[in-house]
């Protein structure tokens, strides 16, 4: 309004103008994001304290769901299986993807071809991939067992039809699927390792293994940390692969937390209880990620 304005209020007006402008850019995405992500996350913590069957709405029931969970053996099986998957999936994928990255960082022929190929499992649809693996794993006539028999394994496992081997089978497929993706992240990380360090190590007479341990791994620590965090989240939320490959079975041998949420919520219509289980999944992810960040920071300091 006034022609000459004192500096502070002018700055105030610029801020107001920028706030308006900034929000005008955010708004189209933010509306969708707020309504479809933020609101559901907040609602989740309310639903977790309600009882809600297919009829009617959510009714506040306090800690009933939590109490029910304590005595729910299926829930604990799901927790145990989720941890089982996580504990094996993380190191396996880590070693496989790092190994591939180190290998493909070399000047070998056909490296480019393989870098492309290693990515296929990650972009292929889960239904097709799960179906093929189920057929490959088929106990009597599947190629996997045919190969195992050929190399002298007399009694190859029943894989997805056996309670003991279904989880290893799912973990193998999970690793197969994700290793190309993380390989790529490691490859990007390897580019940041200074070449002089290798030269120095070589001058000191370090062999390939020593160079890997003394140069590559320490330099890759930020990448490795990132990969472990992502792998943890991926492991905790594993669902579609299991849903299509084993549907949690045989018995409850591959029932994981995310699937238990699905089962309780969408198959049995117990939205309240399913939300309570979701909160456990949420907190587990959140806490483990936090712990990893804290440990990482302490190690760097």
């Amino acid at each position: 309004m006034t022609t000459v304005s004192p500096a502070p209020s002018r700055r105030g007006r610029v801020t107001a103008r920028n706030t308006l402008l900034g929000w005008s850019f955010l708004l189209p995405n933010f509306v969708g994001f707020a309504v479809l992500t933020m609101v559901p996350v907040v609602l989740l913590f309310y639903y977790a304290f309600t009882t809600w069957d297919i009829f009617g709405g959510a009714e506040w029931s306090g800690l009933d769901n939590a109490r029910q969970m304590m005595h729910d053996s299926s829930f604990w099986t799901a927790v145990k299986n989720t941890v089982y998957y996580t504990v094996f999936h993380i190191p396996l994928t880590l070693v496989a993807s790092l190994g591939l990255a180190v290998l493909l960082n070399k000047r070998l022929r056909a490296v480019a071809f393989f870098r492309t190929v290693a990515f296929f499992p990650y972009i292929a649809s889960i239904v097709a991939v799960a179906q093929v693996w189920n057929m490959l794993f088929s106990p009597g006539y599947g190629p996997v067992n045919a190969i195992l028999r050929a190399v002298g394994v007399d009694n190859p496992p029943g894989w997805t039809t056996s309670a003991d081997w279904s989880m290893p089978a799912v973990i193998l497929v999970g690793t197969w699927r994700e290793m190309g993706y993380f390989m790529l992240i490691f490859l990007a990380g390897l580019q940041t390792v200074p070449g002089e360090l290798y030269e120095a190590a070589r001058v000191d007479g370090a062999n390939a293994w020593q160079r890997l341990r003394a140069v590559t791994l320490p330099c890759l620590r930020p990448t490795t940390f990132f990969v472990v965090v992502m792998l943890t989240i991926n492991s905790f939320k594993v669902l579609d692969l299991i849903l299509v490959m084993t549907n949690g079975g045989p018995g409850q041998s591959t029932l994981v937390l995310a699937q238990y949420v699905y089962r309780k919520g969408f198959e049995e219509n117990q939205f309240g209880y399913a939300s309570a289980v979701s909160v456990v999944l949420f907190l587990l992810c959140f806490l483990v990620t936090m712990v990893q960040f804290v440990v990482n920071r302490r190690r760097e300091a």
Binding site: N18, W23, V132, L281
Partner: protein, 293 residues
């Protein structure tokens, strides 16, 4: 397939270490390892294709045959009459395009606000965006489902568009890219009297084509392959995507192994072709963000 699968930034780097060792044994072991890894990665795909060309009996004969006795190409014709492949592929394509368009548009628009305009609360809000990338969708799918049902969007294609199109990934990826564009460029345009929207549209968008392409590819692939979203939301069979359709087809024709593999090949093929066409951008997207759940 011969193109280098490396981000541009990677390719310009100094040659990777280790090449000078050049000892034969090391090379040999390297090739051996690569061969084994290639087989492990490719075998399921090979088996998928080969089985689609076999007869049902031949799929499971012992010893395993690695080539079909007589290729049954007719499976690729039969499947169109035996299933609703056309509907499934049509729905999937529609969803993939719509989601990708919205994600790229709103994501890059918001990213400009986050990257180039300074206002109070901006950084806190962005932290919130980042935070949700670590929250598994599986943990809030129930309240989200309730919400969308209340909006009467469940069992419509809109539901999938809604849950996929406004993710934080696009904002995150594009913001990172925009921050690499110097502020001076934007400031110069401002001094010349260009509006912020003009700067976004006429300077930032053209400059960010590679980033937009990588975001588009990431989104396209994940929407095409999404299984859980459609499983929860799309109940009527005329709304099914290829993933849902294929899954039902598998349970309906559980003994038609060859046809099931034909369907599997058809569900993977389009996305593999798209990936090969745009792999450079795809790889850049993954290498720069790495954030794709």
């Amino acid at each position: 397939m011969t193109t280098l699968l490396t981000p541009a930034s990677v390719r310009t780097q100094a040659p990777p270490p280790g090449r000078r060792t050049g000892n034969r044994l090391g090379r040999l072991l390297g090739y051996l390892a690569m061969l084994v890894a290639s087989i492990a990665v490719l075998l399921p795909f090979y088996w998928m294709i080969v089985s689609s060309l076999k007869t049902n009996n031949e799929v499971f004969t012992l010893p395993v045959t690695w080539l079909p006795a007589k290729p049954q190409w007719h499976h690729y014709v039969d499947i169109w009459t035996r299933s609703d492949m056309t509907t499934w592929l049509g729905n999937t394509m529609l969803l993939s395009v719509a989601v990708t368009f919205l994600q790229v548009l709103t994501g890059s628009f918001a990213a400009y606000g986050f990257a180039k305009i300074r206002f109070p609360g901006r950084d806190a809000l962005f932290l919130l965006y980042i935070g949700t990338l670590a929250v598994p969708w599986q943990s809030y799918m129930i309240p989200q489902f309730v919400l969308l049902s209340k909006f009467h969007l469940s069992n419509t294609l809109w539901a999938i568009i809604a849950i996929q199109a406004f993710g934080a990934l696009g904002v995150f990826l594009m913001k990172q890219f925009y921050e690499s564009i110097p502020d001076e460029l934007v400031d110069a345009a401002r001094i010349d009297g260009m509006s912020e929207y003009g700067i976004y549209r006429r300077i930032m968008l053209p400059l960010s084509t590679p980033a937009l392409a990588s975001l588009a590819l990431l989104t396209l692939v994940s929407t095409w392959n999404d299984f859980l979203g459609p499983l929860l939301y799309l109940r009527s069979s005329d709304l099914w995507t290829i993933q849902l359709g294929l899954r039902t087809f598998i349970s309906q024709y559980s003994a038609e192994y060859a046809l099931i593999m034909t369907g599997s090949v058809l569900s993977v093929l389009p996305i593999v072709v798209i990936f090969l066409l745009g792999q450079r951008y795809f790889v850049e997207g993954v290498a720069t963000t790495g954030l794709k759940g």
